[in-house]
Every structure is written in C-alpha cells, then in structure tokens.
C-alpha cells in the first residue's frame, strides 16, 4: 500500500495530517525545530497570547502527579504586539497552518486580540481559549457558562473572518452545552480538553506545592476524561473536533479519532519525548497501512459506528 492519505480539514483549515501541537506546550515552534523539521506538523498551535504582556505565575510552576503534571505557568507571554511585530517573521516561510491561541479576562480583550490578528496573513486560524477566568463574572471561566461562552464567541466571530477553533474547558458539568453554544455562536471547530483544575500539597512543608496553589492537570492521567468529552461532544455537534488530553502515542491519538475527533493535539508528551509528534504521525500512518485504510477520514468516529 502507498503512503496513506492523512489529510483532513478543520473548520476551513487544510491539514496534511491530523496532528497539531497543543498550545502552551510547544512555545512558538522553534524549540522542537531543534529536533526535527516542524513543517511535519499538521498545524502549529502557538502558546496562549494575551493583549498585554503577562509575567506569569510565581514558581514552582510544575509538579508531577501520578501519570500527569500540574502546571501553573499562568499565560506568561510577551503580548500580541510583540507576537505580531517580532515572532510572526519566523513563520513567513512556513507551509503549515499557524494557529494562534488567544486568551483574556474580559470579553473586550478577546475581541481586540482577534481584531489585531485578523489582518496578519501568516495566521491561519485562531484558537479561542475560553478557560480563562471571566473577571466580570466573578472569576468563573468563560467556558463554564453557556451564555458567557456564546457571547464571547459571537463577539470574536464578528470581528474576524479567520477560522475560529473554540477551546473548551473540561471543568464543567455538561461540556456538550458549551460546545453547542460555541457552535451556534459561529465557531468553525472545537478543541478539547484544556487542563483539569487540580492541586498538590507538600506534606513536609505543609503547603501547596505550586506557587499559585491551583494548577492545570495534563498528561496520561486525564486521557479517559478527555476521551469521554470528545465522545460526548462529537456526538452532538456538526463542526469538527480537535481532541487532546494525555495523548502520548499513536494508539492514544487513534482512540480520540475513533471517539470522533477529526484531528488531535499533543501537549505534555513533547516534554517526555521531543519526537512525540512525528512519532505519532508515523504511527497513525502505520496503523492505516496495517489495516488497509486509505483515507484518514474513515477512522473519524469509527468507534461510534456500532454504538
């Protein structure tokens, strides 16, 4: 069998394969460029970008847990102006889609971000991180309230023609409600899951381990929850879903795809295996060859077929 066709379209963005970097875990792509050609990715999702520069949270920012890590990086980033003026250059020669993850504490921040990024031709799409605390709503995340999420996405939709991928928070009672609200408000695709809120305590110092007390859980530990949410959401929506949360291997990625994801993103795995993304792309191709599957699309939602 020839090299199988791994291409897929996510909300109007054409990917040559379904594996992207997860925001915040891949810097601006340069770091892993030291290990392999980043053009191998299906798409490059860069880290959370805010309107103003953010210093991030005090250390320690990382603590390991059983098969997972908690992080409290806190959106440290140099701000959207710096991104547009300085970082963007490095992408001018790139042939793969560049997706910018945007975040804020106010609706207006998201809208300003989308306005600023709309004319930037190197940017193929925006990933709207709605897990951020909504300052006006007393700090509950935008993504935990159906109405907030709807208004936020609608606001962003109004100011940009770029494809919008709305990134959902798993810290909710009913993720399908938020998913449907985002779809209705004009999202072209959904990505899930962001990190699960968690914490760890040092029993010797009798204090929380993280400088910021709470952190976001990622890695293999969260995979069953992420997979369940992808399963539930992809059953309800008609827009494509990008699955993530604990994907370490091609087998993990295939689980998400069979659950209904049209593409996947890889975060924490990069830290353990810097070649995780190319390994996963190769592994998916290998599975297709072994199982005589010509088109990647045949696999999307394969586990739902009988269900």
């Amino acid at each position: 069998m020839n090299q199988p066709d791994l291409s897929v379209e996510i909300g109007g963005i054409s990917l040559k394969n379904p594996v992207m970097s997860a925001s915040g875990c891949y810097g601006y792509g340069k770091e892993y460029g030291a290990f392999y050609d980043v053009e191998k990715l299906g798409a490059l999702v860069v880290k959370g970008t805010t309107l103003e520069p953010r210093e991030g949270n005090p250390p320690p920012r990382i603590v390991e847990t059983a098969a997972g890590i908690l992080n409290s990086v806190g959106l440290q980033n140099p701000g959207v102006e710096y991104f547009i003026n300085e970082e963007i250059r490095t992408f001018s020669g790139s042939s793969i889609p560049l997706i910018v993850n945007i975040a804020g504490n106010l609706e207006e921040e998201y809208i300003r971000l989308a306005e600023k990024l709309d004319p930037v031709k190197e940017v193929s799409g925006l990933e709207v991180n709605i897990s951020c605390p909504n300052v006006k709503k007393g700090g509950m995340a935008f993504g935990t309230d159906v109405e907030c999420a709807h208004r936020l996405v609608k606001g962003v939709r109004a100011v940009t023609s770029k494809p919008l991928i709305v990134k959902l928070s798993p810290n909710v009672t009913d993720i399908t409600g938020v998913a449907l609200a985002a779809q209705e408000a004009g999202a072209d695709a959904l990505s899930l899951i962001n990190t699960l809120l968690g914490m760890a305590i040092d029993i010797h110092s009798r204090k929380p381990v993280l400088g910021n007390v709470l952190g976001g859980l990622s890695g293999p530990a969260v995979k069953p929850v992420a997979l369940r949410m992808v399963w539930q959401v992809s059953e309800k929506v008609r827009i494509p879903v990008v699955g993530m949360g604990g994907i370490m291997t091609a087998e993990d990625a295939l689980e998400f795809i069979m659950a209904g994801a049209s593409a996947v993103a890889v975060g924490t795995a990069n830290f353990i295996n810097p070649l995780a993304i190319p390994d996963i792309i190769e592994g998916i191709a290998g599975y297709m060859i072994e199982n005589n599957i010509r088109e990647f699309k045949e696999l999307i939602g394969a586990a739902r077929k009988g269900a």
């Binding site: 392999y36 210093e55 320690p60 140099p78």
Partner: protein, 276 residues
Amino acid sequence: MLFSSKSEIVQHQKKGPALFRIDLHAPEICGEARPGQFVHLKVEERGYHPLLRRPFSIYDLDRQEGVLSITYKVVGLGTEILSQKRQGETLEIMGPLGRPFTQWKEDQKIIMVAGGVGYAPLNFLARELLGRNIKLEVLLGARKEEELVGEEDLKAMGIAPEIAVEEGPRGFAGRVTELLKRKLEEESFHRLYSCGPCSMLKEVTRISREKSLKGEVSLESIMACGVGACLGCAFPVNEGSSESKLEVSIGESSGPKTSYQRVCVEGPTFSLEEVF
C-alpha cells in the same frame, strides 16, 4: 539538531551512600557540549511513573571516546530508579541543553564554590579552565562528610580543594559560604563560579556583591520540557541584566525589577547580577 536518543551505560559507580556516577556513550552530545550545560534523562523506559525527564549537569566528558558523565544524588523516585540501572542498559538522553558558563580570556585566577552535588557542573568547567592554565581554587561544602562531591576528581587534576563540613569533623567546621567570606578577605579573584542549594547561592551572591566579585551561578528548577517550550522552569531574574526577548517584568515584586526567565534556556547559568 539537538540529540535525543538512547545511550548505553558504559559504567555506573557508587560514589557515596546516596551518590552515583554514570558514564554514558553519547558521542553526538559530547561533540558540542560545554561546561554548565545539562542533559535531560528519561529514567523510566516504560510507563509514566515518573512521567517527566530529569535534568543533570554534565560532570565530565571524554570527547575521544564519546563518553559523557553525570554525578547524581538519590533524592526521590527518579534518581532512585536511575540508581538501579546496570551497565549495558540504555537511557534516553537529550542534550546538550542550556546556557554554558561564560569563560573570559582575561581571567587568571578563579574561585569555585560548590555545595554537595552542586559540584557537578563545576567539575567539567574546572577541567577546561585548567587546560587554559588558570589558577583555580575550589571550596567544597556539605552538611556531612559523605555528601562531599569532587575531592577525588579535583586531586586527580592537581587541585587540592578546601573543605567545609557543617557537621564536622573534616576541614572547616561550618558553611562553605563562611569559608568563602574568609577567603575573600585574604585574596582576590577575577571570577567566581558556583553551584549548590538555592540558599547557599543566595549567600554566595550576597558575599560576592559585597566584594564586587563578578561571576556566574548555576541554578536548579523543576523542569518539564528542558528546551524552553513550556515556561515551567521560570526563575525571577533581575531586569536589564539579560538579553532574553521573553522579558515581562513582574509587577508586584519589591526590590529591583525582575522578569521570569527559563532556567533551561536563559539558564541554568546566570550572572551574579541577574539573580537574587
């Protein structure tokens, strides 16, 4: 391209009650590595416990043989697992990573201060400095005598380090920083290099500043990626003193303005002006 692959353990020696040295066959890393850089090791080949890699300074290099050494102390699960690896087994290793120590042509007389296994990056540096015929004095400190690292290797290089053991009975009975203070009262140096626990480095920095002695320290931090991609290893660094583009000043901090920098890329080597 950075190297990330399996390397064979060519030797694994116990050096003290909880102290080990591993020699790895990693010619790809040896070629480029500079003193002060580190490698990121995967100690568990199967399973996710521990999940993350572990960073270790390059202790020594044999470029001819392509052998890279690390010296480590068992402090938790990862180093415990590492200590059980046998010669002939392989380890996933990536590197060389991080900013090496800066070496100045004009330096003639250098002092090093190490706390325990913090001696690790200094050993490789010492070998290079001695190759350049620099006069080197080394202060080694530890709480207990068995936690001292480097004496033997320094002696083999012709250096007799001064020893400070807090709990005695060998050498100076107290902290190595006290030894440093006394030393600097008597002599002057062109440069200081230091590595050890955070509290020690803070004191070393304070003492050096008092004496206007310049130099560099090697910091530690919990790391996830080790290559600058996750921002997990951030450490507050004094502004204006570094050239990183990632600088975002930390508003609330009192004292000099600082920004969070990545220990794995902007560090682990920082100048004495940059830290604390």
